[in-house]
């Protein structure tokens, strides 16, 4: 029922394909870590406003963890699906004996997985190099599994949002712009990429906590760095589950409507 053997074989195949282009992965790594590092440098050069709860060490730790979490919760399926509708490869997927979208999901997952080969050493080395700048007194090892759980569900939230956008590819020729709007710009603003959510003004922070974007990036880091109370963690997971349910139904609804009008051109 779960087609585990088939999925493991696909994962292995994708891993082999991606490892063929190891050089390109270094370029991807450069891209993933560059923006957070530039933003971190900007934050380290600011004159802080009154009431900003972050110290330089907080910013440094936050932006060292951003590439790792960002990669783990990333979903690349949004670009692959519309192409498969246009070139007709979706037709082939539909007749295979496992869920038709799993191929794309596994490809995205494999991509994230093998980026860890570069990102984990990069993060560990960076933390080691800057260790004198950190105050590790906040570290509570009980929070590590909760952060990992938050990353898992954050990835699921992003997968479902990206998936819903990708499925509009049944009707739209190109979903890149829709993705830029609903998944890129808002995510960068309210997810904690440019500004850590904890440093938002009160009212904007409350809005960010109700929307799904914070849970794909900032939330796991906030848990890890011991900045959230137990109640805030529970509340965060509850909001995240709410969005997972909403976008599960949305994706299912779009898929059911789209597959009816899919006319399998190309091949």
């Amino acid at each position: 029922m779960l087609h585990l053997k088939a999925h493991a074989a696909i994962l292995k195949a994708y891993l082999k394909i991606m490892l063929t282009y190891r050089g390109m992965m270094i370029l991807h790594l450069f891209r993933v870590v560059l923006m957070p590092l530039v933003i971190a440098t900007a934050w380290l050069s600011i004159e802080k406003a009154d009431g900003n709860p972050y110290e330089n060490s907080d910013y440094l730790l936050y932006y060292l963890l951003v590439p790792l979490v960002m990669n783990l919760t990333n979903s690349r399926s949004v670009f692959r699906f519309p192409v498969s509708v246009r070139d007709g490869t979706l037709s082939r997927e539909l007749i295979k004996p496992y869920p038709p979208l799993m191929n794309i999901v596994i490809e995205s997952f494999t991509n994230n997985l093998q980026m860890l080969l570069y990102l984990v050493p990069f993060t560990l080395i960076s933390v080691f190099v800057f260790q004198s700048h950190f105050d590790f007194s906040f570290l509570n090892y009980k929070l590590v599994p909760i952060s990992i759980l938050a990353i898992f569900f954050g990835a699921l939230t992003r997968l479902l949002i990206s998936g819903s956008i990708a499925l509009t590819g049944f009707w739209l020729e190109d979903v890149t712009t829709l993705n830029l709007l609903l998944n890129g710009s808002i995510w960068a603003l309210l997810g904690g990429m440019i500004i850590p959510v904890a440093t938002f003004p009160e009212k904007i922070r409350q809005i960010a906590e109700l929307l799904p974007y914070r849970y794909m990036l900032s939330f796991p880091i906030e848990i890890f760095s011991g900045r959230l109370t137990t109640l805030a963690i529970y509340k965060g997971f509850a909001v995240m589950f709410f969005w997972i349910i909403i976008f599960s139904f949305t994706a299912r609804f779009i898929w059911k409507r789209g597959i009816k009008i899919y006319s399998a051109y190309g091949g």
Binding site: I46, L172, E173, T177, L180, S185, I195
Partner: protein, 262 residues
């Protein structure tokens, strides 16, 4: 030269007609880019709720930087980016070979044959922001500052163009550099903030061998009355040098090119 320009205009027309084929999607893209610009602007505004200044740059100065950055970024996205995005495929499928056999300036045609108007939303909004900053009195408008600003924008465009020529040459030389566009994205990541935020050694690098300081920081400084004349003059000299060096790299690459496609 005039006939080449005429051909480029015809290619652009074909490119626009092609994108207008999906009119709804095209108009939506322009609106989406407009909103992307607004979100970028909001990022700066929220940034300044937690910061008073960034490396001495006030929120008004940062808005000036953002308008200059988006202006240059949109222009390169409209005219240059669509070409480099498909360059890898062009090299590998032999499309470049076909282009090289034509009696045209190959460099111009590789870099300018396609156009994408989707960034028009960002371009127009950056100009509106620029005009609003003038009306707010953020910019120092004198004959000298305007002249220096025009020179610095011109230098910035030449530097970006030179980087594109070098990357195109590299893509042809290495035969497999489909992600040359990734480099462009990374390059512009550096330009989103003033070069003053970086340590002294990196700053030196950004003003000399990797001259990204002249893309957004120097023009924004010039028009905001924060800078002096020297960086504008250096920027102009460096832009001319960049153009000469990149042209030499291009010529060398084309001379040794032995076809990669089929």
């Amino acid at each position: 030269m005039f006939s080449q320009l005429k051909i480029i205009m015809k290619l652009w027309k074909a490119s626009i007609i092609q994108s207008m084929e999906y009119r709804g999607s095209f108009i939506f893209s322009i609106f989406a880019n407009f909103f992307d610009f607004i979100f970028g602007l909001l990022q700066y505004l929220v940034f300044f709720t937690a910061a008073k200044s960034i490396a001495g740059w006030s929120s008004d100065n940062m808005l000036a930087l953002y308008s200059v950055f988006m202006f240059i970024y949109s222009l390169q996205f409209i005219f240059l980016y669509p070409n480099i995005a498909v360059l890898g495929e062009m090299v590998n499928t032999g499309g470049l070979d076909l282009l090289l056999t034509k009696p045209l300036d190959a460099r111009l045609f590789v870099l300018l044959r396609k156009i994408s108007l989707e960034e028009l939303g960002s371009l127009s909004t950056s100009i509106v922001l620029f005009i609003w900053l003038i009306s707010k009195g953020v910019f120092v408008i004198t004959f000298q500052s305007v002249l220096l600003f025009i020179i610095s924008i011109f230098s910035a465009l030449i530097i970006v163009y030179s980087i594109y020529i070098t990357l195109t040459a590299l893509a042809i030389m290495l035969e497999k550099m489909e992600d040359a566009s990734e480099f462009i994205w990374s390059l512009f990541s550096f330009c989103r903030y003033p070069t003053d935020i970086y340590p002294a050694k990196m700053k030196f690098l950004f003003f000399t061998f990797f001259p990204i300081a002249y893309i957004s920081t120097v023009p924004a400084q010039t028009i905001s009355g924060l800078g002096s004349t020297e960086p504008v003059i250096y920027g102009f000299i460096i832009s001319i040098l960049s153009l000469l060096i990149s042209s030499a790299i291009w010529k060398k690459t084309i001379r040794s090119y032995t076809s990669a496609g089929s």
